[in-house]
């Protein structure tokens, strides 16, 4: 079981690498969905003994939400905004993959520095931190608003995996509340993207800079 859990962790890191370099928006959405599903399956693998009923039910909810509902919302946002298929990165492919690798190295180093309890599965802490970094990378180095939402989902995935590393048991209600919050967040952001595309005829967030104290847009004159 342990090696299988390790495989899953490696797979998650490979998904991070793929996310940092993929050029197609639909591939990005599918990768984030895959990462969410894999992260949802992880607690069933890494636990001691067999999986209990509650854990299975919760994993099923996560797989449904992250594997089906979120990608559907994102695809709808993409179609309704008429965005092009490109991801439109602001930095080049080699730079992205090097940043992702660097993030992994940094998180491995941090994993040794953090005073955490002994994790059953190796690399779970560096993997989660690397996933969070990748989420930040997606938010800051991509133009489209949809990729920013995807970056937010990746950060949530990373935090979820991190929670597994810490063996923190949250009450069911809180975990459901967290999921509900993420769902509503994605929903609201999807609506916002639709509005952005309608107002601006594009969803290029690099252009959303009229309100700024650094660079005066048209508004400040």
């Amino acid at each position: 079981m342990h090696t299988f859990a390790e495989f899953i962790i490696v797979f998650i890191i490979l998904i991070n690498l793929a996310l940092s370099v993929t050029g197609s928006l639909s591939a990005c959405i599918k990768l984030v969905a895959l990462q969410g599903v894999v992260a949802g399956v992880l607690p069933l693998m890494a636990g001691h003994g067999g999986p209990q009923g509650r854990a299975v039910a919760f994993a099923a909810v996560i797989i449904l939400l992250k594997g089906a509902v979120f990608p559907w919302l994102m695809m709808r946002a993409r179609d309704s905004s008429g965005a092009s298929k490109d991801v439109e990165p602001l930095i080049s492919y080699p730079a992205s993959i090097m940043l992702c690798l660097g993030a992994f190295i940094a998180s491995s180093w941090m994993g040794t520095r953090l005073p955490l309890p002994e994790a059953g599965v190796a690399w779970i802490v560096p993997a989660s931190l690397a996933t969070i970094f990748t989420g930040f990378l997606l938010i800051t180095t991509r133009r489209k608003a949809i990729t920013q939402v995807l970056g937010y989902l990746v950060i949530e995935n990373g935090i979820y995996i991190f929670g597994l590393a810490l063996f923190v048991e949250q009450p069911m209600m809180v975990e459901l509340a967290i999921l509900l919050d993420v769902f509503v967040a994605v929903f609201v952001m999807g609506i916002a993207i639709f509005h952005i595309s309608r107002e601006f005829d594009h969803i290029d967030t690099a252009e959303l800079s009229e309100l700024s104290d650094w660079r005066r847009g048209e508004y400040g004159k």
Partner: protein
């Protein structure tokens, strides 16, 4: 008795290497629905070329003649260091994998110099492309070997592959899988296979490796073609030894399995060549950076254990 086995290994590698390109071409032909050239086609080509008289251009110098020979010598030396079914090789010492990478570099250097010596535009173009890709391929290969050294705790190639058993695969499976993927990508790039380079192209502007050897003829071309098959054998041996750790104590059955795996790798290359399309030239470094990322990941994983 102990000296016979390594000698036999080198002899087997030297004699069987030209079969590999034949296997690749056969697999491609099967995919394309053709009958294809016979498996031993490269032998016929080599014999034919060795009997021909070479033609030298007036603008080339001794470098042009020396290049292929230097490459051939370097690759034959590398052959002596190669693992064969996980057995100790003829030439083994601490850190010999660094020596291997440098030998490959020397072979490439010889070819590139010979290409530049012709003074032709196509050769120069091929040389620059080859070096550009080598910049990305060599670190990937090197880091992968370093990760392997870290996993097994050995410093020499023979030791590394000797210590690689089924048990290692059970405990370090993800890392080894990553390294295998990385080595395979490097194999494709170094041996100018699709998706890095198309060996069957006739258009010089799309060539990378063949453009460098356009002007060679006769025995020099034979050395180059043979050297290319040796390189394919070399990378195939590395992958094969990783994928097939030694099982039984019998030398004969191990060697037999190893040869089978080598042909399997060649068949795999053939399948990849038939299924994939060649990448745009600017995207090939991206492919190699991906291989580098895999090797680096494997190394970091191993260090974080």
């Amino acid at each position: 008795m102990e000296i016979v086995k390594p000698l036999f290994q080198i002899l087997a590698a030297a004699l069987l290497a030209p079969l590999l390109p034949g296997v690749v071409n056969r697999v491609k032909a099967v995919f394309a629905g053709r009958k294809g050239p016979p498996l031993e086609q490269l032998y016929y080509d080599l014999i034919k070329l060795l009997r021909k008289a070479p033609v030298y251009s007036r603008t080339s110098t001794w470098v042009f003649k020396a290049g292929p020979i230097a490459g051939f010598a370097a690759l034959m030396t590398a052959l002596a260091m190669l693992p064969f079914a996980g057995r100790p090789a003829a030439l083994a010492f601490e850190g010999d994998f660094i020596f291997l990478v440098y030998l490959l570099g020397l072979a490439r250097f010889g070819t590139v110099l010979a290409a530049l010596d012709t003074g032709s535009a196509f050769e120069g173009m091929g040389a620059s492309r080859e070096m550009q890709f080598a910049v990305f391929a060599e670190p990937a290969f090197f880091l992968g070997l370093a990760a392997l050294a870290r996993i097994t705790g050995e410093g020499s190639l023979a030791g590394m592959f000797g210590a690689l058993t089924g048990e290692t695969w059970r405990t370090a499976a993800p890392v080894l899988a990553l390294l295998t993927a990385s080595f395979f990508i490097v194999l494709l790039a170094e041996n100018s296979r699709v998706p890095a380079d198309d060996p069957n192209t006739h258009l010089e502007l799309t060539m990378i490796h063949e453009a460098m050897v356009l002007d060679h003829s006769g025995p020099e071309l034979a050395y180059i073609l043979y050297g290319a098959s040796l390189k394919l054998w070399l990378f195939g041996a590395v992958i094969g030894s990783m994928v097939l750790p030694r099982h039984s104590g019998s030398w004969a059955s191990d060697s037999g399995m190893f040869l089978l795996v080598m042909f399997g790798v060649a068949a795999g290359v053939g399948v990849v060549e038939s299924v994939l399309a060649r990448l745009r030239l600017t995207k090939v470094p991206y492919l190699l950076i991906t291989a580098f990322a895999f090797s680096a990941l494997g190394l970091i994983f191993q260090m974080a254990r």
